[in-house]
């Protein structure tokens, strides 16, 4: 792999006596779509919280393009090009589409009064429409409140915000969890669109069909440890689900048979 865009080494997170994540290593190539899978409590959300800046790790290091970084807040992670799209989407339902896309980074324009800058609503409406067009989503009225949109359209608004931040890395936390079949397909299309723009995607999902549909590689967590790190091509949703469900003895046996180091990568 050339210089990875994101590297995590030895990430560990303890909540009191509980170790939610243990010595997690990961390298993500630019433009890659990586899925992080695992059962409930496997440590997926913990990885996301750390990488998105919502929580600091207890130990370990994050490097972006080889440079060590520390995040004190989600805003820090954003400024380093990591945008996270949360399960609950983190949108303000009653605010307009363009206001959601530009939340926290509004476009301002000068006024005749020195030092006074006001919102450039027209520029924001047009730019928001442009971001959505890049995702092949057309919504006529940018002043529509987000609550009036479908689940897939809301995901698009959340992704448009990531594009606005010029994020190199977009983390999507269970993007299809609350969606029906049709909307899920739209979200899969959205992920393909952002992939096509060279953006690195880290996808957290319970839905193995989604993972097989979009990911290049899958990392499987179990009990806070990485147990698999494999390319997705050739896998079926069923075989992937099987890997998540295997118990610890099977994994250990498998590992001995193949004489791979912990966290080693098969298929390379």
């Amino acid at each position: 792999m050339p210089q990875p865009i994101l590297e995590l080494s030895g990430l560990t997170k303890r909540y009191g006596a509980v170790e939610a994540l243990t010595g997690f290593d990961l390298a993500v190539a630019a433009g890659e779509t990586l899925a992080i899978c695992g059962d409930n409590g496997a440590g997926k959300s913990t990885v996301i919280r750390i990488v998105s800046g919502a929580q600091p790790p207890s130990a370990g290091e994050i490097r972006i393009k080889g440079r060590p970084v520390r995040f004190a807040s989600p805003a820090d992670a954003l400024s380093q090009g990591i945008a996270t799209i949360y399960q609950d989407l983190a949108l303000a339902p009653r605010m307009a589409i363009y206001q959601n896309v530009f939340m926290g980074s509004e476009i301002l324009k000068p006024t005749p009064v020195p030092g006074l800058r006001v919102l450039d609503k027209q520029a924001m409406r047009e730019a928001a429409r442009g971001f959505l067009a890049r995702l092949r989503v057309e919504i006529a009225d940018m002043d529509k409140p987000v609550e009036a949109l479908s689940g897939g359209q809301r995901q698009a608004v959340a992704i448009a915000r990531a594009l606005r931040w010029k994020a190199d890395i977009v983390i999507m936390d269970e993007p299809t969890a609350a969606l029906g079949v049709r909307e899920t397909r739209k979200v899969i299309d959205l992920i393909h669109e952002i992939k096509a723009q060279g953006i690195t995607v880290i996808l957290i999902s319970h839905n193995m069909r989604d993972v097989v549909a979009v990911a290049d590689r899958a990392v499987i967590l179990k009990g806070g440890r990485k147990v698999e790190d494999i390319p997705v091509s050739g896998l079926t949703p069923k075989s992937l689900a099987g890997m998540i469900m295997r118990d610890d003895a099977e994994i250990a046996a498998d590992r001995e048979n193949q004489a791979l180091p912990l966290g080693g990568r098969r298929g390379e």
Partner: protein
């Protein structure tokens, strides 16, 4: 816009116009220029206090202290003028006290995590106690410095200066909320605080700002009220609590239904002013106004319940 949309946005306004026309028919004195200016002058204090309350409510916090804080600020300003200090010092002291209460409210809510409903109820009690302590329960009345009294009683080109002040403040409040980044951040904080935080908006600071502006506007209203009455007493602004809340809630039923908004607050205030004035002119008993306010509050809350529940209980 659908018909239902139009009704929800402009229904209250239409009802207000009907009330206005009703009074115009019922009383020959209602529509006179003098009476209309009286209404505008009377609602100016209410408007200024309500604008402040709206700032806090936009950040999804309730400020139940604004009326008592205004009484206290009025006592501070009035007392200093009454005992011969300069008007400038008196005004600065009154505004500082009100501002300080706003900041303390903000810190109680954001640092000690006390729900604003409780925090501001408590600071309201403190403000009331301090106002009684300072005055021994009496009102100060006097022949005060004319330049100070002008602030509340003067005229500019025939228009009462109070109307000018309140128009400027209403414009400033509308501008801040709808045209500046500050306004969007305050709105986002009130609408979806977690989403705002994740987008990098400093939500605690925005909540402190909302409550601080409520305090500051209470202070400005207090200075003007004191100048206009040329007297200050420990409960001089107390009655504005109910009518201020009613005005803002009524405003939330207009334009952007369910959301506190400055144009709504302006019209809500005017409507309540018209109602108060009209009820007097048609000879309604003094308690009719209180009953009307109660009904307005209940009716408005029925429409805007979710926003208010969130502001009151953080749900």
């Amino acid at each position: 816009m659908t018909r239902a949309d139009a009704v929800s946005r402009f229904g209250t306004l239409a009802a207000g116009v009907a009330v206005f026309l009703g009074f115009a028919v019922a009383s020959e004195h209602f529509l006179t220029v003098a009476n209309q200016l009286t209404i505008l002058r009377q609602v100016s204090f209410l408007l200024i206090l309500s604008l402040g309350f709206t700032f806090a409510l936009i950040a999804a916090e309730l400020d139940l202290s604004f009326a008592n804080v205004a009484s206290l600020a009025g006592v501070v300003t009035g007392g200093l003028v009454h005992f011969g200090h300069s008007s400038g010092l008196a005004i600065a002291a009154g505004l500082t006290v009100a501002l300080a209460f706003g900041i303390v409210n903000g810190l109680l809510v954001t640092r000690l995590k006390i729900p604003s409903l409780i925090a501001t109820l408590a600071t309201a009690a403190v403000a009331r106690g301090l106002a009684f302590m300072a005055t021994d329960g009496v009102s100060w009345v006097g022949r005060w410095d004319p330049s100070f009294v002008w602030l509340g009683r003067g005229k500019v080109l025939g228009v009462p200066v109070l109307v000018v002040w309140s128009a400027l403040l209403a414009f400033g409040a509308w501008f801040a909320i709808s045209q500046t980044r500050f306004g969007v951040w305050l709105t986002a904080t009130g609408e979806a605080d977690e989403a705002a935080r994740l987008a990098g908006i400093p939500i605690r600071r925005m909540k402190v700002w909302g409550l601080t502006l409520s305090g500051l506007f209470a202070g400005i209203g207090a200075v003007l009220l004191t100048a206009s009455l040329s007297s200050a007493g420990p409960t001089s602004a107390g009655d504005f609590l109910m009518s201020g809340i009613a005005a803002v809630l009524l405003g939330m039923t207009m334009f952007t239904p369910g959301k506190p908004n400055m144009p709504g607050t302006l019209l809500g205030t005017l409507l309540i002013g018209v109602l108060a004035n009209g009820l007097v002119l048609v000879g309604a008993p003094y308690y009719a106004q209180d009953i009307a306010l109660g009904i307005i509050i209940l009716g408005s809350v029925a429409i805007s319940a979710s926003t208010l529940t969130k502001a009151a209980f953080g749900l």
